[in-house]
């Protein structure tokens, strides 16, 4: 399976994502933001980091990069696209997933492990996952997901919520919401479920020596689903 990770100026999880994808069997290529064409890929990843220093708005300048035209076309033709952290912010700015990401509720960067509940497994990203609750890692300043009530209704009606922040038993409530996201939303799909944006970093959880191993479960499952 072939994947591509886009490097924007200021991306800083691009290498980590490359390491993770390669570790679980993807043939990964790094793609420069200023390129026009995407290599042939089964999966495109927009990695975390601070593209364009988060200036103007997180993800907004990167969403206008040359390569993004190809990413948008790829997504519209049904290709799998995943945006992690800053990648999620870029997806939002590019209009590939609904909503916006505001500053965290307590106005602080947060770096820690969180639990997320997988709500919808009828999609390529989470199909056949044998766990309901995953332990992931977050590291962001603007992960407070927000949308209008009308949007929220549409998102819920279409089953577009991918993952929620929860406790280790899968309960979602305000107390365990790390950043103030509406409905504890940590990740969201487009209507067709071929585009996923999420704040947590599965690529930081791929080895027992790191923060945990649930990222390994996620990537192995993803590879099997694409095959």
């Amino acid at each position: 399976m072939k994947s591509s990770v886009i490097t924007f100026p200021g991306s800083n999880c691009d290498r980590d994502m490359d390491v993770a994808l390669t570790k679980f069997g993807f043939k990964n290529k790094m793609v420069w933001h200023d390129d026009q064409e995407l290599p042939k890929s089964d999966l495109i990843v927009l990695p975390g980091g601070f593209s364009y220093g988060d200036y103007l708005r997180c993800g907004s300048m990167a969403s206008k990069s040359k390569i993004m035209n190809s990413v948008i076309n790829f997504a519209k033709s049904g290709g799998l696209v995943m945006g992690i952290c800053n990648g999620f912010q870029i997806l939002v700015e590019a209009g590939l997933v609904p909503g916006v990401l505001l500053r965290n509720k307590y106005l602080q960067f947060i770096c820690k492990n969180v639990h997320v509940k997988v709500d919808n497994k009828e999609n390529t990203f989470f199909k056949n996952l044998d766990k309901q609750v995953l332990e992931f890692h977050i590291a962001h300043n603007e992960g407070n997901y927000f949308c209008t009530n009308d949007q929220l209704k549409e998102i819920e009606d279409n089953n577009q919520i991918a993952i929620y922040y929860c406790d280790q038993n899968g309960n979602t409530n305000d107390q365990i919401n790390p950043n103030g996201s509406i409905k504890n939303i940590a990740g969201i799909f487009n209507k067709e479920k071929n585009v996923l944006g999420m704040m947590p970093h599965p690529e930081r959880m791929i080895d027992e020596s790191l923060s945990g191993e649930d990222g390994s479960i996620f990537f192995k499952n993803l590879l099997n689903n694409i095959k």
Partner: protein
């Protein structure tokens, strides 16, 4: 503008220094030249008060590739790999403008590391604030933490460890010391020594603005009532540009076109160009009209003294300009050929086709002032006569509660959760442990790093204090299973013109040097920050030591969390119950007199090496060194982290329980051993003449201190974790 003595003094130069300049030049300097002298001859850049003492530091060792004198120190970690590291202060600017001061401190130290060709792989910091009661403390802490996070997070370099302390001596002068480690191949290290004639001198990175002019001079003076007016001397950081600069420089360094490279830090273009010329014994000619400027009508004086961030100076091989420019174009950074190397041994500046400054480089560097300041010897204070019957009145549980929730002991997760500590995917020990540990990417090795200081001990007796911090970092590294290799030091003191402060400096350096030599744990880099004082009041002497060690196999790393019920806990090192200068004495007895705990270097080395031997043999399940707060504080942290309890054995010493549990004797560790290994462990300890006590057994949920006193792990955790969060809420 005509220069005279009055203007020179306004530039921070002393009257006799100005006379020396005129004599060396055989004329009066013009204003640009005076600015250059003031930038090169201030304390921060010239080390004029510290140089003769720094020579006494122990800087050599088998693993040292580069000692002090370069942008950063370099040590060998085998297999052709090397670690580049350094710590640096950004104290003065952080007090004036905490966010930008701290942020640019982090940016500056990372630049020092990647200038040498190394990719930064870990950041650490040591930050010191005034009393929690002081009205400025909260905002300063918030600003500094945001600044450190704002820069490091954006760069994508994990912040893996740190130290935070509160003491009223920092009320008017906070300390912000930032440390970076970088990884490089031994044969791809870059230096700042220029070589060859007529080689192009290249400027890359951000444009030059009017920010930070006189930053280094500001950091070479005490504060007074008007410090708010000094805000314009604080630089403004742009981590995004630095991230691009990092990637562009590393891309260029992959080739062979660079002869020398130097970042523009303190005193900007002035010190970078002069250092490169001086090291290469060459001259440099610069056309200031070619320097990319952010603002219009900047004068030669302003261009030379600006401390705008994220800039580098490179001496390139002839003919490689286009190839290099392509890389910087790709990353959207300025690239300008601004001059060339010459054989004149002068620094010569042109502006609008006129020569605006011409100074022999050796005058600026070798002839810079050097002072042997007067200093006062300290005496070891007499031991306090503490009324020990008074100890019977204390309830151990109450004391433990007070100590665990003390600002200097309590958990700092409010701070480090704001730092990205997991980016780069190699952090295997996060902040909150004895040392941070990152894997050497793609290998079995890992590097451990720690940063520490003990201002109270240094204040009580500088020689002992100096030794103690070196030993403490040594223990921090060993506690995670790393073999200590070398240190970097950041020497934060009051005014060198004050005999007592100068004495503290001289004797701390002496203590550091003795310990480094004994432990074969050399100093490879560092910096000195004097004038941490407001009016006549200086800070407590605060040398900060950053230690670095190596784990050959990261899978053998040790953490402090208790692992399994039924395992035995041993205390390594002798407990004498030293209470003077302990946290107990200060917090509970309100007693500030007396000597710090004695440091016995033989025991330090022997205990540490024996523990490393036990770790190599895979006998150790968890380990933690005992420092501030004594045995019971250390045990509590192991319990909290492991979510396990311990049944403690009654001390068999002739000292009181209070002295036993809260004394701060040095050279001690707690280790957890599986009962099946106990005999062999004890054998090894005996064979090496290491003193030990069997101190307890790990149990489920409580810490059983004696028959009357039990504390649950949840209680311990709430004592330890609530203070800082509540304080900052």
């Amino acid at each position: 503008m005509l220069v005279n003595e009055k203007i020179a003094i306004e530039h921070g130069l002393k009257s006799d220094e100005y006379k020396k300049i005129c004599k060396l030049l055989k004329r009066t300097p013009n204003i640009t030249e005076l600015g250059i002298f003031s930038a090169m001859w201030n304390e921060h850049c010239s080390y004029k008060s510290s140089r003769i003492h720094l020579k006494k530091l122990h800087t050599k060792g088998k693993k040292v590739i580069q000692g002090p004198g370069e942008n950063a120190g370099v040590i060998d970690i085998e297999d052709g790999d090397a670690i580049v590291f350094k710590i640096e202060s950004h104290n003065h600017p952080s007090f004036i403008e905490p966010y930008q001061g701290a942020a640019t401190g982090v940016g500056g130290i990372m630049r020092d590391v990647f200038t040498m060709g190394a990719r930064p792989i870990a950041n650490l910091n040591s930050i010191h604030f005034g009393s929690s009661q002081n009205k400025k403390t909260k905002n300063l802490l918030r600003g500094v933490v945001h600044g450190i996070g704002g820069y490091g997070n954006c760069m994508g370099v994990p912040t893996i460890a740190g130290q935070t302390s509160f003491d009223s001596s920092y009320n008017g002068n906070i300390l912000v010391n930032a440390m970076t480690l970088g990884l490089v191949k031994k044969n791809k290290i870059f230096y700042s020594k220029a070589a060859g004639l007529n080689k192009p001198v290249i400027y890359v990175g951000s444009k030059t603005g009017r920010d930070g002019i006189h930053g280094a001079s500001m950091a070479s003076a005490s504060f007074d009532d008007k410090i708010e007016e000094k805000k314009p001397t604080v630089q403004v950081g742009d981590p995004f540009t630095e991230k691009l600069l990092l990637e562009a420089c590393l891309e260029l360094m992959a080739g062979d076109s660079i002869i020398a490279i130097q970042d523009m830090g303190a005193a900007g273009l002035t010190s970078s160009s002069i250092e490169m010329a001086s090291k290469g014994n060459l001259g440099i000619e610069i056309n200031l009209n070619k320097v990319p400027c952010r603002e219009t009508k900047m004068t030669p004086y302003e261009i030379m003294l600006s401390e705008s961030q994220e800039r580098m100076l490179i001496v390139l091989e002839n003919g490689k300009e286009d190839q290099a420019k392509k890389i910087f174009d790709k990353w959207g950074l300025d690239f300008a050929v601004i001059g060339k190397t010459t054989n004149t041994k002068n620094i010569e500046l042109f502006f609008d086709k006129e020569s605006v400054a011409k100074i022999p480089v050796n005058i600026l560097v070798e002839n810079s002032p050097m002072y042997d300041r007067r200093w006062k010897k300290s005496k070891l204070p007499k031991k306090n006569k503490i009324n020990k019957t008074e100890f019977n009145n204390f309830k151990i549980k109450d004391v433990l509660k007070k100590i665990l929730s003390n600002p200097n002991i309590c958990s700092k997760d409010w701070i480090w959760e704001q730092y990205d500590h997991t980016v780069m995917g190699d952090t295997i020990q996060k902040p909150g442990g004895d040392s941070g540990v990152v894997r050497v990417h793609g290998s079995e090795k890992a590097v451990a790093a720690t940063v520490d200081s003990s201002a109270v001990y240094c204040w009580a007796h500088p020689i002992t204090g100096g030794k103690q911090i070196v030993c403490e970092t040594w223990r921090n590294l060993i506690s995670v299973g790393a073999r200590p290799i070398a240190i970097t030091n950041c020497l934060n003191f009051g005014s060198p013109e004050n005999e007592e402060n100068m004495g503290e400096f001289v004797e701390c350096v002496q203590g550091i040097s003795e310990a480094c030599k004994y432990l074969d744990y050399p100093v490879v880099s560092g910096n000195v920050s004097f004038y941490n004082q407001t009016k006549d009041v200086g800070i407590k002497p605060t040398p900060t030591i950053g230690g670095v060690g190596l784990l050959r196999n990261y899978k053998n790393m040790i953490t402090m969390s208790f692992k399994d019920i039924g395992n035995q806990v041993l205390l390594i090192g002798k407990t004498e119950g030293h209470i003077d200068q302990s946290l107990f004495a200060r917090v509970i007895l309100d007693e500030k007199k007396g000597p710090p705990p004695e440091v016995n270097l033989f025991n330090e080395k022997n205990n540490g090496e024996t523990l490393l031997n036990l770790i190599d043999k895979n006998y150790i399940r968890s380990a933690h060194d005992i420092s501030l707060g004594g045995i019971l504080t250390a045990i509590s942290k192991m319990c909290i982290k492991g979510n396990k309890g311990i049944k403690l054995k009654k001390p068999k010493y002739l000292i009181s329980e209070i002295e036993y549990f809260f004394g701060e004797d040095q050279g001690r560790y707690l280790i957890e051993v599986n009962p099946k290994d106990l005999k062999e462990v004890i054998n090894i300890l005996n064979k090496n003449s290491v003193h030990y006590d069997e101190i307890g057994t790990i149990i489920d949920n409580d810490i059983e201190i004696n028959q009357k006193t039990k504390v649950t792990i949840d209680e311990l955790r709430s004592y330890n974790t609530s203070w800082l969060k509540r304080y900052m809420a």
